[in-house]
């Protein structure tokens, strides 16, 4: 007998009602490229005025879960600009003023950037931010990042 019974797809023998990856992602509002482009412009003007906290909170409060890859890439670069231009000394204060939801989103962007070549070039900046998030908010945001299927 050469039947490899461990490789039999036993779920195929049962009818319907199978869980798909999409079932685990909560529905999200569609986001257009124009929407995130507007945010990008506003964040740029806030950064020019040196209002980094407002820029960060503004960009993290509306993550484009429902956008396509292009939309997500633009918003990613918006957030990355803020992270890069913020002084290391003021990171802890900024993170502490964010809401729990915003901290969770921030961690998502930090991990996303760490996975990309563009982010890896500034990994020191990203690690400094993550360090402060964990210091201020504990491990909760990381546990939620691992569980959350809504990606940025």
């Amino acid at each position: 007998m050469d039947t490899d019974w461990r490789r039999i797809d036993i779920d195929a023998l049962e009818e319907g009602n199978r869980l798909t990856a999409a079932d685990l992602v909560p529905p999200a509002e569609p986001v257009s490229y124009e929407d995130v482009a507007v945010i990008n412009q506003q964040v740029k003007s806030l950064l020019a005025k040196g209002e980094n906290y407002d820029a960060l909170a503004y960009s993290l409060s509306s993550p484009p879960y429902g956008g396509d890859d292009q939309v997500k890439a633009l918003h990613l670069s918006t957030v990355f600009d803020i992270l890069k231009t913020t002084k290391t000394s003021s990171v802890a204060k900024l993170v502490g003023e964010l809401s729990t939801d915003e901290q969770d989103v921030l961690v998502k962007y930090l991990y996303k950037l760490m996975s990309l070549p563009q982010g890896q070039q500034s990994s020191g900046v990203l690690l400094a931010w993550l360090d402060k998030v964990v210091e201020v908010a504990g491990n909760g945001p990381i546990i939620r990042y691992l569980n959350d299927r809504r990606t940025v």
């Binding site: 869980l19 685990l24 729990t100 939801d101 504990g138 546990i143 959350d148």
Partner: protein, 376 residues
């Protein structure tokens, strides 16, 4: 019987589930692998083994006791067994196999408040609602199939004996009807719904980050539902009637919680990977952490996250600990163990079950093989 400090009972292996029962809660049943051990609880936290219940071929996942004193057990061998005590001292039991009709492991079991039926969740994507049929004197079941797409991890009954809630591995928590014709009286309308034939779905909820729903519970009034999920978030649901719901969630910085119970509509108690029970309180606006029950956890180190960090530091020092161990061996021929790797909590690993012991105590059990009775 239980005092103002935690009472600890230690066992050989992981305690998946436990129950206190009998006069003055003087009997303790714990799961140990494939068997249930029944103990008599003696003064000074001692215990005496009365009997061992065998009958399952695979590890037992959960046990529960009915208002009438029947014990139901669920196991990975795809069976559930109802154990009926034959004498007042609980030293011998009659065993009844339940017809669950499932092809995957049974994961959880809960008796309904009246004790005339119980629900068994399973990996077969169904909940078996089991009840006794006097004609043949056996326990049979009806399947709640819709709308599950994944393993049922937890079940909880509404005080009206009809509605039940469950948490699943597909990130959802459901409220549905477990009304069995001929067994149940027609229930009065609640905020969850008025017409409740079997398998009516009254609500479907998610925690916004998402994650396996480890446990669910109704408040004593039945008008509040709470569940804990793997994203270390507690979610509270307030039904508003006509399928409208107000959902409040509380994100925490602890490891994920595995179990919860409501003390009142405004207070719940939960525990899990943080290794100690915590009370949360709140209302329709928000829920916040109130206090920890394990005073040893809080008296030494007030903030959990900080204490976890310190534990990490201690672990980081294991190199020098090992060095000092060998130095002591060399100098004195023995080691003085400081026990520095112990957690500052009573439980030394994840708490998996939390139950009410009486009005002012809870009992917990966990992966560390301990059953602990905490005063609230």
């Amino acid at each position: 019987m239980m005092g103002s400090s935690p009472a600890v009972f230690k066992f050989k292996s992981v305690v998946n589930d436990h129950i206190f029962f009998g006069p003055d809660n003087s009997r303790l049943a714990v799961t140990q692998e494939k068997e249930i051990q029944i103990y008599e609880v003696l003064p000074n936290n001692n215990k005496k083994l009365l009997t061992v219940l065998t009958g399952h071929d695979e590890p037992i996942t959960a046990i529960d006791i009915s208002a009438q004193g029947l014990i139901a057990s669920a196991s990975q061998d795809r069976n559930a067994i109802v154990w009926k005590p034959l004498d007042a001292s609980f030293s011998s039991f009659k065993k009844d196999l339940v017809l669950l009709r499932i092809n995957r492991s049974a994961t959880c079991v809960k008796w309904s408040p009246l004790g005339n039926k119980f629900a068994v969740g399973s990996g077969a994507k169904v909940i078996s609602v089991c009840y006794h049929e006097p004609e043949n004197d056996w326990w049979i079941s009806k399947h709640l199939k819709k709308p599950f797409k994944s393993t049922i991890l937890s079940v909880a009954w509404h005080p009206n004996n009809v509605l039940l809630s469950c948490g699943t591995a597909d990130y959802k928590c459901y409220v549905l009807s477990g009304y069995v014709k001929g067994v149940d009286e027609k229930p009065p309308a609640t905020l969850w719904g008025s017409k409740l034939p079997f398998n009516t779905i009254c609500g479907e909820f998610i925690s916004s980050p998402g994650g396996w729903v480890h446990d669910v519970a109704f408040s004593p009034s039945g008008d509040v539902l709470g569940f804990v999920s793997n994203d270390s978030t507690i979610t509270i649901v307030y039904p508003k009637g006509e399928e409208q719901f107000n959902v409040v969630s509380s994100k925490t910085n602890y490891g994920s919680f595995k179990t919860l119970e409501f003390i009142s509509d405004n207070q719940l108690i939960t525990a899990g990977h943080n290794c100690f029970p915590v009370i949360f309180q709140g209302d329709e606006e928000s829920w916040e952490e109130a206090r920890s029950i394990d005073t040893t956890a809080t008296s030494q180190k007030p903030k959990t996250f900080k204490s976890l960090e310190q534990d990490d530091d201690e672990e980081g020092n294991t190199g020098s600990n090992a060095l000092s161990m060998f130095r002591q061996l060399d100098l004195k021929g023995k080691v003085q163990n400081k026990g520095s790797s112990d957690l500052p909590t009573v439980h030394q690993n994840t708490v998996t079950t939390l139950k009410f012991f009486d009005q002012s105590h809870i009992s917990t059990s966990g992966v560390d093989g301990k059953v602990v009775v905490f005063p609230i």
